[in-house]
């Protein structure tokens, strides 16, 4: 009783923006102050990218309860789209020669390039979303794997973007930006996009609209009988999920400056899977946490060389034995530390 009332009436201070914004500013300060070197920046960028990947895959695999194993494919679509846009607009491209826009404009337009990749990837998500109307479970899993193979194979056959030789030139865009202002642009945008993704997913999954996605996981029949257009919700889930994966791909491409299809094969997809389930299905904080832990582990264990890939899986298996529902289960940080709740709850409701 009181529970409900307080939720409706009492205004809480929402600490999320402060925490994330503050954290980002601190990182930026440390970077500019030279405390964080480029190596750590790179790791931070990969953490950011992995956060987007695992949080976005969680929409489908966690909240909606399907088993998509082709996230790498959508990342590929985003990576190639935004790379092509980037090269076309801001650098000397192999097709059009001169840049379409003055390279310095990249400072403002770079995010659009990344979002462009996301949009195309979102539409690529339809390739999986439409079969999901009729196909479910492991059959759908196969469709997602097939989609992954198809995207990789397609690019391998597209000579004009390099095929398996890969595609490069995106760094030039970054240099053009750095010429305008000496800032770590890739890091900044990675942080911005990963924070934004987490926010958007949080908003989506807390809205009644987004709850329609969760309703499919537990009981699709109930969802239909309550008037939820489950096909629409599947489209939304897949498009948002793959769109964000595309954004992650675009960032990835610009961090590396070089992409080739085999960076996005089924192994990439399995990494995304591991992060989602490590974090806990349907737990956004879990996805974020596991992306951080996983990326960090991969980096820290590097000196172990071959043994790294024995020890990390072993650790994950052990972890599953002790926490058979991932780091966070389907709870959020605020469920584990209820004292935090007032500071992170939505104000409306």
């Amino acid at each position: 009783m009181d529970n409900a009332i307080t939720l409706v009436n009492k205004k809480h201070i929402n600490l999320w923006p402060a925490v994330l914004g503050g954290g980002a500013l601190i990182i930026l300060g440390l970077v500019l102050g030279g405390v964080i070197n480029q190596y750590i920046q790179t790791v931070l960028m990969f953490i950011g990218i992995n956060i987007i990947l695992s949080a976005s895959l969680n929409i489908v695999n966690g909240y909606m309860g399907e088993f998509s194993c082709g996230h790498g494919g959508f990342m590929l679509v985003g990576a190639y789209t935004s790379s092509i846009l980037s090269v076309l607009f801001f650098t000397k491209s192999p097709w059009l020669g001169a840049p379409l826009l003055p390279p310095s404009s990249a400072v403002f337009l770079f995010p659009l390039v990344i979002i462009g990749g996301g949009i195309v990837a979102a539409f690529a998500g339809l390739l999986v979303a439409i079969p999901s109307f009729k196909t479910r479970d492991d059959y759908l899993a196969i469709i997602t794997i097939a989609a992954n193979f198809i995207f990789v194979s397609l690019v391998n056959n597209l000579e004009f973007i390099g095929g398996s030789r890969g595609f490069m030139g995106m760094k030039t865009t970054i240099y053009a930006m750095e010429d305008v202002a000496d800032l770590p642009f890739t890091l900044i945008w990675t942080m911005v996009f990963s924070t934004l993704s987490v926010f958007l997913i949080r908003r989506l999954m807390r809205s009644t609209f987004g709850k329609g996605i969760s309703s499919i996981r537990h009981d699709e029949i109930s969802a239909e009988i309550m008037g939820v257009n489950t096909n629409n919700m599947k489209i939304v889930a897949f498009m948002v999920s793959s769109g964000l994966a595309g954004i992650a791909g675009g960032l990835f491409a610009h961090v590396l400056g070089f992409i080739n299809p085999s960076s996005f094969n089924i192994m990439k997809s399995t990494e995304c899977l591991v992060m989602v389930y490590l974090g806990g299905m349907g737990s956004l904080s879990g996805s974020v946490l596991s992306a951080v832990v996983f990326t960090f582990l991969l980096e820290v264990m590097r000196p172990l060389q071959i043994l790294k890939w024995v020890i990390i899986p072993l650790m994950l298996i052990l972890l599953m034995q002790f926490r058979p529902e991932g780091l966070m289960g389907n709870r959020e940080l605020t469920d584990i530390f209820p004292k935090l709740k007032p500071y992170f709850k939505r104000r409306d409701l």
Binding site: P131, T135, A141, I142, I150, I266, T270, V274
Partner: protein, 304 residues
């Protein structure tokens, strides 16, 4: 032209046989536990290595024995070793999770991790050099009507069909097979029928692993370069084959393996080979769009 077609028919039969045998292994475990045993491809890889060591040992120490005897001994020992591995994995990784009632996808992820451990553990222990699988009883190439056939090819195809027939018999006509199917639907009620659940699962893993062992030996003989990652993609593809056939159904897995084998080979035969994956997977996508539960799969219809 005709001989090329015929040749490709045999190529497809051989390649499809491997997909089938591995897919059957997937299907068995899946059929019982609803567990996509992503480690299966790597169990298959380990079987190749077991067979490699066992056969090499026999060839070194029992020189002069007729090939078929060595082959038979290797087969038996490899099946034992691989079953041991399968059971070990089941015991230490899957069973505890099952007991705790973990979501099935966590078990799947555990399987994926186990695959990594097998691959890279092998690399760490045996080093980076690939191994050459020993020849147990001389390869013979038959030539007729412009078609080349090896005795290995024939053995592979025949074995795949026999393995399927045997499994089909076990799963569909024996009580233990019935129990296996029942477990897949409802583990809860199995003990209520007086049936020891763990024994059924153990049996399933033995069967699945033995099948991987058979496939492993034949694969080693047919494609004799062994490396730790050899099981990965063929494993994934065999899983795909199992699903296209209708996962959980023995007939489906068997057929699915051949379908995938045929699709891949036909695509390469008639299109530029670089489009292999592209076209093959588009075809699979279309198949699954038309038959959303594969060829033999029955959707677990939820009673409303």
């Amino acid at each position: 032209m005709f001989s090329t077609l015929l040749q490709n028919l045999f190529n497809a039969l051989q390649w499809g046989s491997f997909y089938s045998m591995i897919a059957l292994g997937y299907c068995l475990v899946y059929g019982v536990l609803r567990l996509i045993n992503f480690a299966h491809g790597d169990i298959f890889m380990m079987a190749c290595y077991f067979a490699f060591f066992i056969a090499s040992w026999f060839l070194g120490n029992l020189a002069g024995m007729p090939g078929p005897i060595i082959f038979g001994l290797t087969m038996i020992l490899t099946m034992v070793a691989t079953s041991g591995l399968g059971l070990f994995i089941e015991r230490v990784a899957y069973r505890p999770l099952r007991k705790k009632g973990a979501h099935r996808l966590y078990v799947v992820i555990t399987a994926l991790m186990l695959g990594f451990i097998l691959e890279n553990g092998n690399l760490a222990v045996l080093g980076a050099s690939s191994r050459r699988f020993p020849d147990m009883f001389g390869k013979i190439v038959f030539q007729f009507a412009g078609v080349s056939l090896t005795n290995y090819k024939i053995i592979v195809i025949v074995t795949a069909v026999l393995a399927f027939a045997l499994l089909n018999l076990i799963v569909n006509s024996t009580k233990i097979g019935m129990a296996m199917r029942a477990v897949s639907y409802d583990k809860f009620a199995i003990p209520l029928m007086g049936i020891p659940l763990n024994r059924i699962i153990t049996f399933t893993f033995i069967l699945g692993s033995s099948l991987a062992a058979v496939a492993g030996i034949l694969f080693g003989m047919s494609y004799p370069v062994l490396d730790p990652y050899m099981g990965m993609i063929i494993g994934w593809k065999a899983f795909i084959a199992a699903v296209v056939g209708g996962i959980g159904d023995i007939k489906g897995a068997f057929l699915g393996g051949f379908i995938l084998g045929f699709i891949e080979i036909i695509v390469v035969a008639f299109f530029p080979s670089s489009y292999k994956d592209l076209i093959a997977f588009v075809i699979l996508l279309v198949i699954l769009s038309v038959k959303p539960t594969g060829f033999f799969g029955v959707a677990k219809s939820t009673k409303i």
